[in-house]
Symmetry: C2
Subunit: 370 residues, 2 copies
């Protein structure tokens, strides 16, 4: 074989198969479009009309580089949360920020704690720096705070991941429980608290932001409630020194000018946001009703999706998923043991939930082999 530039040992050891299969790839493989796109926890309600108008207006300005400081958006986020811009860093979605956190806090061989079945992109980025994942099973469909604390102590993990509200289960912890968790953390363990769905659940699930604490990074996004998943913009809030440390390695020109402008405008339209929150709550009730009408058990959700217990095993739920996909309904499902008995349905537009309601009985019958 011809000699070639060797990858670093760390990268050479990584698998080249990746966990990211979007609905577009499935459509290409199937050769036809989905009729209902309710699988990726996107916001079918779209961004605010004000945001759309602003994006249209600035399209012609895209010849200019983005501001590498993300200044206007940092200021807007800080004002929105009552913080200083020194406590905010903007990234290419939460995913981009997770990649940076992995590089900042995880050396090869370090243990990193997360829940078994939690966000796979976090795991992907931990693998990318040679971290060693320590996974803790969910308990009663919630991430196990005590289990995570035990894993951190046992493995001396410098980093732990928790999403609240949780994806893929839709469950959540109330703020006081989270505060207890945070206070029980070793001071040298960094917590990534992923609040991607934070705007969509009860306010009581969000602990007050304490930016004096150097071991918590809160992450939020414009991808979910704000309806801007395609623009790639998220942010992290933390103590100022933590934020400064991101500067050492982040891609300073990574967040597009369009994303920065859209983010500022999105934050400015809280009226629209509240209308989306109400529509999502209504959609959750509708999905739960459809599930119950079919003898399934919807889980309570603080997100823009409902996870549905199919009342059988993982193999059965997988068949339900496949039967829905074959009926042109794009949904997803958890794959970890115990969680895998469920399917996960995002709140879509009314006509999409109509299609889900129409197709679910047939999909269940097909999964049962009837």
């Amino acid at each position: 074989m011809r000699p070639r530039p060797p990858l670093t040992p760390l990268i050479a050891a990584l698998p080249s198969t990746v966990p990211f299969v979007g609905p577009e790839a499935q459509e290409r493989e199937r050769g036809r479009s989905f009729r209902a796109r309710i699988g990726a926890n996107e916001s079918s309600f779209g961004p605010s009309p004000r945001v759309i108008a602003r994006m249209e207006a600035v399209a012609r300005d895209m010849w200019m580089y983005c501001d590498p400081d993300n200044f206007d958006l940092k200021v807007a986020v800080a004002a929105h949360l009552g913080l200083s811009a020194d406590n905010v860093v903007i990234g290419e979605g939460i995913d981009g920020l997770l990649s940076l956190v992995a590089r900042m806090y995880v050396a090869p061989g370090d243990a990193v704690a997360t829940s078994l079945g939690a966000y796979p992109t976090f795991n992907f980025h931990i693998a990318g720096v040679g971290g060693r994942l320590v996974t803790v099973p969910y308990e009663n469909d919630r991430e196990s705070l005590d289990g995570l604390l035990a894993a951190i102590a046992k493995d001396k993990a410098p980093l732990v991941y928790l999403s609240n509200p949780d994806n893929p289960m839709g469950s959540w912890w109330e703020a006081d429980e989270l505060v207890r968790f945070i206070e029980a953390l070793p001071e040298t363990t960094m917590l990534v608290l992923d609040e991607a769905y934070g705007e969509l659940g009860p306010a009581s699930a969000l602990p007050p932001i304490d930016i004096s604490r150097p071991n918590v990074i809160r992450m939020r996004t414009f991808s979910k409630a704000y309806g801007l998943a395609g623009i790639r913009c998220g942010y992290a809030v933390a103590e100022a020194q933590v934020i400064r440390d991101f500067e050492k390695i982040r891609n300073h020109y990574g967040v597009s000018r369009m994303a920065q402008i859209a983010g500022v405008e999105a934050l400015a339209d809280q009226t629209y946001l509240q209308s989306v929150v109400a529509r999502v709550a209504s959609g959750r009730r509708r999905i739960a009703g459809i599930a119950e009408a079919n003898g399934l058990k919807p889980l309570l959700s603080a997100t823009n999706f409902v996870t549905i217990d199919c009342r059988s095993d993982g193999a059965f739920a997988l068949k339900v998923l496949q039967a829905l996909l074959s009926r042109d309904v794009f949904i997803r499902k958890p794959m970890a043991p115990r969680l895998d008995r469920c399917i996960r349905v995002s709140v879509g537009l009314d006509h999409e939930l109509d299609i889900f309601a129409e197709e679910l009985p047939g999909a269940l019958a097909a999964a049962r082999g009837n």
Copy 2:
């Protein structure tokens, strides 16, 4: 001091000051806007009207995640270059791709060869993985191919960076010289050939693309000739296995849906691209004429900027730069020894070059202390 989560030793050792100061930051500091934005090698002519119309039309679709495969854009790039999509990876501008290449090929302590005064973002990303930069001085305002080969051999560098056409000098090597350079590289040394300005110079400066060779990665962008710097989209072309290796660590949802769509449309409007190339050539001649009329020496350029020898030392050129900034003309200058005698002026709109022509004599007089 309160204990805190430690950064990895590699990240802890990095400086927290960063080299990225955009014109927006300068405007904030000055408290007023620039009248001519001709410093960042953006395309003042903007993107194609077709691209603008397409971005406007899809703004409302940004609630959907981007395709993590970047499929349509990869296919379009491949078709444009006569390659397979397996030879293409899309990234958040060339900057994002450089960060990945650093992680893929550079282990802590490895030597990496580049030219003294070449692209600082490359250096930033090499520092971010603990690489050790080995810099080779320019010769006659061109990157030194022989010098780079010697540095690679001496330091056993697994990675070398070369931009052609070059930033910040605007100079270039003809294809046959580059082919000689590539053939002289050790087979285990990866070359990043940054062709960000590739569409703007003579076609004879671009060697044929040989995707059978596993040690060359060609990088191009929509930021320059295509006028889409703010949308953050670039691509790399290489042998298929090299491309697959990017999959191991890239942020699969890093390139926005807007960027992917704009990129496809931009490639489809080659008529517009050619009109920009012609306008840039005309703008270069205009800048050169202004420089000569003021007793300065414009360097030949294959890019969308002209680097101007101020016929004195670095201190003098710095004064010229500062005097232009104070006159609300945003330009930049090289800072490395020998190159620092120059200022760098991007091709702008006619009225911006008018302002440059008006202000240059006063700026020179101020720099001379008159």
